[in-house]
Symmetry: C3
Subunit: 482 residues, 3 copies
C-alpha cells in the first residue's frame, strides 16, 4: 500500500459528546450529567489486574503484552477473523510475561492493525481509541500502513517512568481496585502494598474459590490438599473443607477483601444435609462421585459459601451461565481461560430460592448477581432485587459491557428495581490501561439513559444529577461494602 507523501494518515478524533443521545435537547442534558461524574475517582470493585504489578511497579514489556495478549475482547475477535491465538501471544503466562520476542510482538501488533475495521461497532474500538489518545498520547488510526509507527510510538511511551503501574494508578484517579485471587494465594503482594509507606492507593483481594467447589473437575483432590496446606485445616472432611475456607476468607478479609466471587455453570445452590454432605464429600474426595453427585456437592458447597458470607460479611458475587473453554481443541493446546468462553441460558428464580429463603432478608448477607443472559434482567433479576433486601443486580458484564447493552440493561432493570438495587459499574478487566476508558463508557451510557428520563419528564434534572453521582460513588461502595 503506497500513499502519496502529501496524504497524512487519518487521526483518531475523540469527540467529547461520544455515546451521548442524538436528540439535541437530550444531549444537552446528558452533557450536564456526564460532566458531573466525568472526573470522579474510579471505584473498581471487581477486576483481574494482578496485585504484583502494583506491588513491584513493574514496567510493561511491550505494546503487544500491554494491549493485546491480556485482552480477551481483542484476541477473540482477531481469532474469529482467522488469526491463530498463538500469533497473539495467547496461551503463555499472561500475567506479566518475560519480555517476548520483539519480532513476534511487532507481528502481533500488525495483525491487530490490519484487522482494525473488524472492531467497528464494538466497545473494543471505543476503549482502544481512548487508551491510545488519552493514556498513550498517540492518535494514529490503526491500519497496515500505520502499524509500525503506532507500535514504536506506544513502545516509546511505555518505556517512560510515567507509564509504570503506580504512576498510572494515580493518573487514573483510582480510589480502590479489587484483584481476583485464589484462596491459596498468600496475598503477599497485597501485604507488601499495605506495608509500603510510599503507596497511597487501595488494592484489595477478592476470594475466588471456584476450582475448590468443582469435584467433577480433574485435579480437585490435589487442590484440596493445597487448600489444607494453605489454611492449616484438614480438608479430609466437609467440616474440614468449611473450616479451611473460613480461615482463608478470614485471611482475605484481613488483607482488605470485601467480596467473594463465584462463577459456575449455573446459579444453583442448596443446603446439604450434614450427614449426606459428609458422605458425598468423602465419595468425591475418593474420586468416586458421579457427575450428578459432584453437581449436588458443588451446589452444597456454594450454599456454604453463602452461609459464610452471611456471617463474615464478604459480599457474595455470582458470575454464572458460561460454558468455559467452549473449544476443546484450543483448550488442549493453549490451556484454559483463553477467551473461548460462551454463555448459556441461565435461571435464577428457582436456583436462588434456597439461599434467599435462608439469607434473603438477613442484613449481613449481600448477593450481587451478574449475568450475560439478558433475558433474566427484566424477568428474574430485577423482580428479585425489587423484593429481597440482600440482592443487587450486577452491572452489564463481559459481552454486555458495551453502550447499547448497557442501555438495554438500564431499560430492563430500572422500571422494576430502580437504580438503588444495582451494583454500579464493574470493569472486570485485566487490561489495566483500559480501566479509565471502560468506566468512562459506563458513565456516558448512564448519562445517556438518565438524560432520556429527564427529557421524558420522568426525572427532574436534579434527581438525575443525584442519581448519576450515586451510580459512581455511593452505589458501588454500598453494594460492595467498600
Amino acid at each position: 500500500m503506497t500513499t502519496s507523501p502529501a496524504a497524512a494518515p487519518p487521526r483518531i478524533a475523540l469527540h467529547p459528546d461520544r455515546l451521548l443521545p442524538p436528540d439535541p435537547a437530550t444531549r444537552s442534558v446528558a452533557r450536564e450529567l456526564y460532566a458531573a461524574v466525568r472526573d470522579l475517582p474510579i471505584v473498581s470493585p471487581h477486576g483481574h489486574v494482578p496485585a504484583r504489578w502494583l506491588a513491584d511497579d513493574v514496567p510493561f514489556p511491550d505494546p503487544t503484552a500491554l494491549l493485546i495478549t491480556p485482552d480477551h475482547y481483542l484476541t477473540r475477535l482477531l481469532h474469529a477473523r482467522g488469526v491463530p491465538l498463538t500469533d497473539l501471544g495467547v496461551g503463555g503466562d499472561e500475567g506479566h510475561p518475560a519480555p517476548p520476542d520483539p519480532a513476534r510482538s511487532r507481528a502481533a501488533f500488525r495483525l491487530l492493525c490490519r484487522h482494525w475495521p473488524a472492531f467497528r461497532g464494538t466497545p473494543v474500538k471505543l476503549w482502544l481509541e481512548q487508551v491510545l489518545v488519552e493514556v498513550l498520547g498517540v492518535d494514529l488510526v490503526p491500519s497496515e500502513a500505520t502499524a509500525d509507527d503506532l507500535y514504536d510510538a506506544v513502545a516509546a511511551r511505555v518505556a517512560e517512568p510515567g507509564f509504570r503501574p503506580r504512576a498510572l494508578y494515580e493518573r487514573f484517579r483510582i480510589d480502590v481496585l479489587a484483584t481476583t485471587d485464589d484462596p491459596c494465594d498468600d496475598l503477599r503482594h497485597h501485604a507488601a502494598l499495605r506495608d509500603d509507606p510510599a503507596w497511597r492507593g487501595r488494592v484489595v483481594p477478592t476470594f475466588r474459590p471456584d476450582r475448590y467447589l468443582e469435584a467433577g473437575e480433574p485435579g480437585w483432590p490435589d487442590r484440596l490438599d493445597a487448600l489444607a496446606e494453605a489454611s492449616g485445616a484438614d480438608t479430609g472432611t466437609l467440616a474440614g473443607w468449611v473450616d479451611a475456607m473460613q480461615r482463608r476468607r478470614a485471611s482475605f478479609a484481613e488483607h482488605g477483601a470485601v467480596s467473594a466471587d463465584h462463577g459456575h455453570r449455573d446459579a444453583r445452590m442448596a443446603p446439604l444435609d450434614p450427614a449426606d454432605g459428609e458422605r458425598l464429600y468423602a465419595r468425591a474426595r475418593a474420586g468416586r462421585a458421579t457427575a450428578a453427585e459432584a453437581e449436588a456437592l458443588r451446589q452444597g458447597l456454594l450454599f456454604e459459601m453463602a452461609r459464610m458470607s452471611s456471617e463474615d460479611g464478604l459480599v457474595m458475587t455470582l458470575h454464572p451461565g458460561v460454558r468455559r473453554d467452549h473449544h476443546a481443541p484450543s483448550r488442549e493446546r493453549l490451556g484454559t481461560d483463553i477467551g473461548a468462553d460462551i454463555p448459556v441460558p441461565v435461571e435464577f428464580t428457582e436456583a436462588l430460592r434456597p439461599v434467599l429463603h435462608a439469607f434473603g432478608t438477613n442484613p449481613r448477607f449481600r448477593l450481587v448477581v451478574f449475568t450475560i443472559d439478558e433475558t433474566t434482567f427484566s424477568r428474574e433479576l430485577a423482580p428479585l432485587a425489587g423484593f429481597y433486601p440482600s440482592l443487587y443486580v450486577g452491572a452489564p458484564w463481559w459481552f454486555l459491557d458495551a453502550p447499547d447493552a448497557m442501555d438495554r440493561y438500564r431499560a430492563a432493570v430500572t422500571e422494576t428495581a430502580g437504580f438503588a438495587k444495582t451494583s454500579g459499574f464493574v470493569d472486570d478487566t485485566r487490561a489495566y490501561l483500559s480501566i479509565p476508558a471502560r468506566h468512562d463508557v459506563a458513565r456516558r451510557a448512564d448519562a445517556a439513559y438518565l438524560a432520556r428520563l429527564v427529557t421524558a419528564h420522568r426525572l427532574t434534572l436534579e434527581e438525575a444529577l443525584e442519581t448519576a453521582r450515586d451510580l459512581v460513588t455511593t452505589l458501588p461502595r454500598k453494594a460492595f461494602r467498600l
Copy 2:
C-alpha cells in the same frame, strides 16, 4: 434535616409532554395522537378492585390504607430497601381493613416518603405523582421533610365526599370495571350494584378458579366441598367438577362476567381421556395423587376451562409463568399474595398446541395470553396471534406495565401480529386511585410508539390516529367481548 424558612419545599410538576419521544417532530405527532385519546373513557377489563367498595361506597380509611398497603409495586420496593412488610400494613386484611392505628399509618407513610428516591425510574413514581397532583390535588415532593404535611393533606382530602369510590368512578370516566372473583363468591356486591337505581356504572365480575384446579395445593379437597355447596353440584367426580364449574360460570355470566382468568405456573393444558381423568380426579380427591398426577390433572382441568370458554363464550385469559410467594418465610408469617411473586421462563408454542388444535379457529373461543417473560413476545405470542384467529396478545403485565417495557412490547409484537391482535391496556390493579394514571401512561406510551411509526413514514398520521383510538376503544371491547 433543616431548611431555611425561605426554602420552599420542591413541588411536583407534571409536564404535559411526559413520556412522549424527545425528537421535536416525533413529539409533535405524539402530542396530537395523545390528545385524541387522553380523555376517552376508561375500559378496564381486568383488575382487582373489590366490588364492595363501589357497592357500599365505603370511604377510604387513611392515606396508607389507600396508597401503600394494597399496592404491591410500592411495598415490594420498600421491602427491597430493608423496610419490614409489616411496617407497611401488609399481611392483614388488605381488602378494606378496619381503620388501622393512626400512628402506624403515619409511620408507614413516612417510610414511603423517606425512601421516595428509590422509586426513580419506576412507574410507581409516575403513577403516584399523578395521583397526588391530579386526583388528590397535593403537589409536595415526598421526602422526610414533607411526610407529615403530605399525610395530613391526603388524609383531609380522602375524608371529603368527593373521594368516595363512586364519586371517583365518575370522575375517572370509567366505562366498565372488571373485578376478580372466586368461583364460590355469591357476587352479591355485583348484584347490589346492578339493582341499585342510583348506580350508573358497570362493574363486572371475572371468574378466577385457579385454586380449584391445583390438586397439589393444601386445602384442595376443602375447596371442592365449598364449590359443591356454592354450585349445588356434586364435586365428587370429575364430571361433577365440570358441572359445578359450568354452573358457577353461568352465574358469573348472569352477573355480567365476560372473562375467566387463569394464573398457573405454566401455560400447559391438555385434554384428559375421560376414564383416565375420572381415575386421576378420584386419586387427587382422596389426597393420593403424586405431584406429577396433580400436574396432569391441572392441565386437564384447565383444558376443560378452555372447552367451557369455547361454549359459554367467556373470554379465557392466561397469566402464567410466576413462582407465587417466592419467599417461604414471608409466606409463613404474612400469608400469600404479599408482592413476593417472581417470574420464571414460560413456554407457549408447545403448551398451547392442544387447546389451539381444538379451538384455535373456533369463532366462539377467545384466548388472551399475558406474560412477564418478554422473550415470548416476538418468539411465540406474536407468531401465534398472527396465525390463530382465537388468540390475542395481552398487554404488558405487572413488571412490564411501564413505559420502556410497553415500548419493547409494541416493538416486539407489532411487526409480526399488528395492532389488531392485541388486547388493549389492562391495569390489573387494586390501587383504585391509580387507575387513571395507569391508563394515562399506557396511552402516552402507545402515542409515543405510533408517533415513531409516523415519523419513520410507516404510518400516515390518519392511520396512526385511527389506531390510537382503536387501542383504547374498539380493541379492548373486542378482545374482552365487552
Copy 3:
C-alpha cells in the same frame, strides 16, 4: 360504503426518508449512507423463487397468485383475522398454479384490501406499498372501495411483457438469486438457464435435504428410495446414504450451488460412532426406530452434512427452532408449509459444540446460523461468531425480517461480533415481486443503525460508508462464497 364523487381515494406516498431515524442530524447521515447503497445490485443468497419461473419466463397468472397466495406473511395475518386460508388459494400447488378461477382470485384480493388496516406496523405494509408503487405503478391505498380498481390495475400490468420474470430480474438489478431445492431435483431449470445464451443472470440452486434426515417422519423410507434413484447410490446403509448425499451435493455444486440449508427443530448435531450409526440407520430404515433413536440419527446425519460441507465447501446454513405446521387440523386439510410454523426456544452453545470442535477453525468450513429466537443473538450467536472463524450470524429471518427487529439484531450482535461476522441480508422469500422492497428495507435499516453509530461518534462517516457498502456487497459474497 359511499363516497362523494369529489372525494378522491387516498394514494400511497412512498416517502424517500422512510425508516430513517427521526433525529434530523442522524437522518441526514442515514440519508447519505442509504444513498450509497440504494442502487447497488441485489445479492440474494437464500430464497424460494422457483428456477422454472426464470427458465420458462412464465407470465404471472393474476394478482392473487402473484401477490397473495405465495406470501405466508400475508396469508397468515388474514387467517388471524378470521379469513379461511382456502379463500386465499392456500393449500393448492402454489409454485405457479394453473390460472385459477378469476372470480375466486378477485374475491381473495378483496379480502386483502378489506383487512388492509390489520397490516399496519408490519413489514407487509412496507413491502406491498413499495411493490404497488415502484414495481406495478399503482398507488391506490387498498380498501374495500378500491379493491376492484386495484385488482384490475395490477392484472393489466402483470399481463405486460415487461412483467415477466426475466424482465423483472433485470429491472430489479439482481446479481445472483439462490433457489431452494430438493436433493432429488434434477436441476434441469438451472441447467436450462445455464445453457440459455439469451440469459445473462445467475440463478443457483441450494441443497435442502431436511426430509431425508428425519427418520421419525412418515414417508422417510420412500424418500430414501427416491434418493437412491436420483443419486445412483444404494441408500440401504448409512455409508450408502452418505455416498448418495455426496453425489447429489456434487451435482448441485456443478449446477452452481454454494450452500446447503438445514431446518430442523433444534440445532443439535453430533457424530455417530460408525458401527452404532449403521445399526441405528438400519433400524430406522426398517421403521423400527424409537423417537429418541430417530432424533439421534438425525443429529448424526446433520453432523455428516457438516462434515461434507467442510470437504466440498458448500456453506452450511441453519434455520432451526421452529415447530412446523403447528395447527394439525390445517395441516391435515391443506398440507404442509401453509404459514402455520411457530418458533420455539432454541439453544446453540451446547448444540453446536461437537461441530465446532470438529470444524470450527477449519478454513474450508463455513456455518451461517439463523434464528427467530432473538434471545440467542447476544447470548450465544454473537459470542460464538466472535470466536470461531467458521461461524457467521445470519441476518434477521422470517418474523424478524422487519425494521425494528433488524435494529435489535444489529444492536444485539454488533457490540460482540462486529459487522464482519454477519451474513448480509437474506430475503428468504417466494414473493418474487417483493425482493427489491425487502432488500430496500434492510438497506434502510442498516443505514439507520450505522447513522446512529456515527452520531454517537462511534464510527466516522467514512467508516460507516465503507461498512454500509460491505453489508450489501463483500459480506454476503464472503459468507456465502459467491
